[in-house]
Amino acid sequence: MKTTLGWLKEHIDTDATLDTIVETLTRIGLEVEGVENPGAALAAFKVARVLSAAPHPQADKLQVLSIDAGDGPLQVVCGAPNARAGMLGVFGPAGAVVPSNGMVLKVAAIRGVESNGMMCSARELEVGEGHDGIIELPADAPVGMAYPDYAALNDPVIDINVLPNRPDCMGVRGIARDLAAAGLGTLKPLDAVYRMATLDPVDGPDAAPQVRTDDPEGCPSFFAQAVSGVTNGPAPAWMSSKLAAIGQKPISVLVDITNFLSIDLGRPLHVYDRAKLFGPLVARRAAVGESVLALNGKTYPLDPSMTVIADDSAVHDIGGIMGGEHSSVSESTTDVLIECAFFDPDHIARAGQKLALTSDARQRFERGVDPAFLDTGLAIATWLVTEHCGGTTSVITRAGQPPLGDKVVVYEPNLAETLGGLKIPHDRQLAILESLGFKVAFDWHVMVPTWRRDIDGPADLVEEVIRIEGIDRVPATPLPRTPGVAKPTATPAQALESRVRRAAAARGLNEAITWSFLSDAQAAAIGGGAWSLANPISEELKVMRPSLLPGLFAAAERNMKRGAPGVRLFELGRRYLAEGERATLGVVLAGENRPRGWQDGKATAFTAFDAKAEALALLAAAGAPVDNLQVMGEAGNAWHPGQSGTLRLGPKTVLAAFGMVHPLTLRAFDLDGPVAAVELYLDALPAKRATSFARAAYAPPVLQAVRRDFAFLVPEALAADTLVRAVKGADKASIVAARLFDVFVGTGVEPGHKSLGVEITLQPGEKSFTEADLKAVADKVVAAATKLGASLRG
């Protein structure tokens, strides 16, 4: 919302400086986003009289002028055809900067004749379009006066961010009222502002226009007055200059009056050309299939949720949002109908959102205009029309009832301190509320002004008194410490995430944060997502990721494309499943694991076992019982069918998937393989049982452990882990560990088989093992292996 300092001062009597006003506005919640002085750039330009004009001796199209800009005659060369003795114009002396082109004027010879500056055109000064000649000022313009002062261009434009709860401040008067309440001056009476004898509506001699509302919900009331015999033309300077200053293009006085009142009073109105209306004007719901050509030149399809203003022939207005082109006023308009209606804010908001159409009117109606201001708004509009366009007024038609009703808030002035934290004397609070238009009864029953739809509880009144008194004065009050012993404030899930994150970083992985959404194609590459956005910002960011890997693949691809030799990325975030969102860790290892080196020779790529190592290390960091996990297949279609697996706790609980990524998956992400990956399902981890701080007592074994090696010949398809588990379980009393240390295929091993070397660790209890003991254990080990089809190698 823009206004100017001068415009504000039409409503408030104040001696305050611009700085004070700007500071105060921000302090009371009307944040000033910018102040611009359009005249600042023109300060050096002056009103000047052309004393004489003579032809230039060297050039046909130039004249040599003698001008007076208040300091006596100066010679100026000028090329404007309209330059002539006696006229008044605008002079730019040497040193002035021409706004349109940034040129610094200086004393210079033009075709051999000295020129001490320039007489300027409107376009050169950016004060208008005219460029056929120099600016011509009226004869009474005071010679020597700074041009911006003369042209009233020194009125600073103030841009205020009016928040959605303040419909009243969508009008200059509302802003002035707040400023007055903040102690910066006195709000002028409205009749004085408009120089009207009375603000009461006045019926005229013409017959009342036929208007009604058939949509009491969307348009509870529709007031109208007609004026016949008007002459449309340019708006008076005081009006058009204000509108121009805030960037509204003056159109014609009839249109400008409605625009002006919308900005001055926050009261949108509409003026129809009665010659283009047929029959009564009715507020009603749009019918299916109707559309309207709006004033912005676009056609909008309408639906029955929207309120429109229509006559017997057509829809003329998207109620409260934008007028129609067809019945708009023009230079030739003689009879007008002025609409002053109340549109329901929710209806306006919904219709505006549906149509994706913003307008000054919508902004005001959806915040809620003053329902008690219809008569006055109409009276002012009619008065301005007759004042500037002449004509005869009609009897006023008032269709429907605006939603009036006294709103009373029971206030407790101590709340300023107990809620707002600032002690404010009661009489001061009373004064603030009254200056804002509240009526306060002796028992603090506070009647809310009709223009403050946002106020409906005591907390709102606290805000009013605090913001005017100064929210910055609220003293900082320490929050008391919570009693008792400090407990961990992170939940176990958060602590877990934090541990896993730092474990991953400690293992050399780089934490990335990637979008939660993917393209359809990316999601499809890993089996598709359950959720997609109805209004994605782009097709690339559409499907909620069902896995963290696609985002990491895409990031890995970008890194590889930039020439990174190896990429180790991880992300900790959520995957989005149909039934909910789950904490997940993804790891992607692409490119080189180790670079080529003097020790190891060629660079090595990542393998499925690098992925497995990460999976196990991170699960260990997460506190998972790593020793009890089983490796199983079925990581899914996105993975290499022979080099991937899942880590499970029991047959059903999948804690992680790991391995090499399927080449077809990689192709979808434009990645050259091989790429290893891990996905850890943090939500599947068993919750840790609470234990006391004290550990179980520790007693180191008295006797030394014994190790024995076995080499078994097994069918190639037998999973090594199956054999190791069988071996370990062969004698639970003495075997404390079994570890695979060798896999061999080749000479000496028959085809279809492999040789597996397993080392077992035996821990004696109170007595050392005898040879017989060891033999017995070895026999059990061999027996257990034999069950799996293994045979002991000689």
């Binding site: 994150r501 730092r502 979008w515 959404f517 960011l541 149909a578 969102e581 789950r582 899914g636 609980t653």
Partner: protein, 390 residues
Amino acid sequence: MTDLDQMKTDLLAAIDSAATLDALEAVRVSALGKAGSVTALLKTLGGMSPDERQVQGPRIQGLREAVTTAIATRKASLDRAELDARLASETLDMTLPAAAAPQGSVHPVSQVMDELAEIFADLGFAVATGPEIEDQWHNFTALNMPESHPARAMHDTFYLSPSPLRGEGRGEGASASVGVLGDPAQPLSPTLSLEGEREMYVLRTHTSPVQIRTMMGQQPPIRIIAPGRVYRSDWDATHTPMFHQIEGLVIDKGITLGHLKWTLETFLKAFFERDDIVLRLRPSYFPFTEPSAEVDVGWTMEKGRRTLGGSEGWMELLGSGMVHPRVIAACGLDPNEWQGFAFGVGVDRLAMLKYGMDDLRPFFEGDARWLKHYGFSALDVPTLSQGVGA
């Protein structure tokens, strides 16, 4: 010079001149071996008379000891020489590079969230979370933003296409156990009569719905922060469609705007580790707080850069206010009994202000170079004793 003396001299000379261990061994065998010269002399002792033995015994034994000692000494010397020679042959170029361990890193957003959790833990705030796919009741309605509220339109909301409702298990891969984040046990609004709102989920536009979930899930007093991802349909130099916020909520008896101010001051001073952080509160509007305050933080120019602290100028930092009575009531609490404050601040922005990134967009690109440059070591765990900043 007796024979013995001559023999000793010869043997010691032979020992000294033995250049290798093998040569030394040959000398040892020739002297002390079974057929050695010293051994032979020792054998003669048995055939001597006691008197003679008393004279010759010590001499011959002395010879033996001298030779033995000399051999041991020479052996040690030869051993050392051989070791030295071996080590000399093993010399490597110690300027060769050692295998480099990959340099892992923690993302600045995670680091800052950890810092905030640490700072707020000291003030007694627990960490709470909620779902990112949120129903409109929690995201808007309960926060005093009824349907068609203009503020809803301001949020640039992402809507989700109608999808299978949660709880109808269609999960893939993972276990069916209850998630630790975004607990699906309470994803839906308690007022299921709001059919229209149930139909269309949104990506939460702020972390404020966690306020609602917390107030509905536990009795006051409440002190929480709620960090997490939030989403708005907005993408330019300073906005990304996904970003991070942290919400703060205190619900108790007798909480005022003054407590809010102190909490924000304390948190920002601790976060930026500067005592000269100055805040400026401005009245503002958020549907879910009343009174509401926009909080600006003061800056000064230091080394040509706007640095927080002092008050040469102001920058908008966060929104806050006293929780609106209607929000408290919507959560089933009595607003006459309980009151409190809430605030929300951008985590990415805090990270940028503290650690000097001037562009938001690389935060989510996963460029390993950026991650290593701006990321943090795994060991940079923010703690009060060692400092929350790194």
